[in-house]
């Protein structure tokens, strides 16, 4: 078990595994996203109150959901990086941060574009919106802190501590609409029992959510590969990839 685990966590074999896995993740996410968004924009019925404006849910809810799960994954990778000093966990953290930050930014901005026509304001300082903004700053803090270090290993360890400390914000974002009263509505996805969404509206939402999750997995794997290449520069397996790339370039230019 442990030998298997160590072999998987070794940079060249993880790189190769990611190389095999990524195209499938990318293709599956593309299908789910195209299907979910086209269905959501063109075929889902309009909402009885919000008319067509409710369709923003198909980009807002998936990005908001992954903004939280990516942060949790980053914090877990941080714990592993601090305790076991596994390089791959450091790479995972640093690969998740930009993807998570971009998803958080999309969730915030699509939320504003939804809030203006429906609530009457782009932004209010209620518990949900404020804590999601804090989430964005935590992601940006991790990215900035990493770049402030010359040594990637020391930088990753500092980032891990920030990521772990910032994890207290995750349950605050998630449960803010239940713990406090706020302008933001409750969660559509997790409410059991009572009708929250008709099936024709919920189908595209689940497709877009699954597609976004797979897409983020794809983007994180690709960034982890890059992170590994930079850190392992000068090793034999990276050298081989570089020679292969040079051959590709030459044949492409001919």
């Amino acid at each position: 078990m442990w030998t298997w685990f160590h072999r998987l966590a070794s940079p060249p074999s993880f790189y190769r595994l990611a190389e095999r896995l990524a195209p499938w993740l990318g293709a599956a996410s593309l299908l789910l996203l195209l299907g979910g968004w086209i269905d959501g924009l063109m075929f889902a019925p309009a909402d009885y109150q919000q008319k067509d404006a409710f369709r923003i849910i198909y980009v807002h809810v998936p990005t908001a959901a992954v903004s939280l799960s990516l942060y949790s994954a980053m914090a877990v990778a941080g714990v592993v990086a601090v305790i076991w000093r596994i390089k791959l966990a450091e790479c995972a953290m640093m690969a998740i941060a930009p993807v998570g930050a971009s998803m958080t930014a999309v969730a915030l901005i699509t939320g504003m574009l939804w809030g203006k026509p429906m609530w009457g304001a782009y932004w209010v300082w209620d518990a949900r919106l404020t804590s999601e903004l804090v989430l964005l700053f935590l992601y940006l803090g991790v990215i900035g802190l990493y770049q402030a270090f010359d040594d990637p290993r020391a930088g990753a360890r500092a980032c891990a501590l920030l990521a772990i400390v910032g994890a207290v914000n995750v349950p605050i974002v998630k449960f803010s609409v239940e713990w406090w009263n706020s302008l933001h509505q409750g969660s559509t996805l997790l409410k059991m029992g009572k009708p929250t969404m008709s099936a024709a509206m919920a189908g595209p939402l689940y497709a877009a959510l699954a597609g976004t999750m797979l897409f983020c997995a794809y983007a994180v794997l690709r960034r982890m590969q890059n992170e590994l290449l930079v850190r392992e520069r000068g090793t034999r397996w990276v050298g081989e990839l570089q020679r292969a790339q040079a051959v590709d370039d030459r044949s492409a230019s001919v």
């Binding site: 305790i83 609530w119 772990i164 207290v168 713990w179 009263n181 409750g186």
Partner: protein, 159 residues
């Protein structure tokens, strides 16, 4: 202890400390992060006049009176209490009888709430028009449950 175990204990301690600190901060600041008061809060406690506050509730059906294009009066309710509201300005598209709203403004000496901003608070339910009956009560009202009292004096009971 090996170095790795030391680190494990340190991280566990960090997470535990954070959890305790977060729980303490949560109990201490819970009221401060409430976005609005409910009509029950306004009835149960005297809010100083001219203090700028927010109040959230449902627009009671049959109470919306429009004097001219911009002047509007209505009654706002949570699960238990009501408060009259006066407002002059543009209302959001979703404003209608039975709708949840959050108004910013001040208490006037006559007991009415004078708003200078009204935002709509919709719920997490999305339905095509032909299925909406599943969501609202007979008089077109939405659930009053999302309007949680700051002072803890009320709702939650009447769903």
């Amino acid at each position: 202890m090996t170095k790795r175990q030391t680190r494990m204990v340190a991280v566990a301690g960090l997470i535990f400390g954070l959890g305790v600190a977060a729980a303490l901060a949560f109990t201490a600041f819970r009221k401060n992060m409430m976005y609005f008061y409910t009509p029950s809060d306004l009835v149960a406690h005297t809010v100083p006049e001219d203090a700028k506050i927010r109040v959230g509730g449902l627009v009671v059906a049959g109470t919306v009176l429009r004097a001219d294009d911009l002047d509007v009066r209505f009654t706002l309710a949570d699960c238990e209490q009501t408060v009259p509201v006066r407002y002059r300005g543009i209302l959001p598209d979703l404003f209608r009888e039975g709708q949840g709203i959050v108004a910013t403004g001040r208490m006037a000496s006559d007991g009415a709430f004078v708003a200078d901003e009204v935002l709509a608070k919709h719920d997490e339910n999305y339905m095509p028009p032909d299925l909406k009956e599943a969501l609202t009560t007979a008089d077109g009202r939405h659930s009053c449950a999302p309007f949680k009292s700051v002072t803890g004096a009320s709702p939650a009971v009447a769903g």
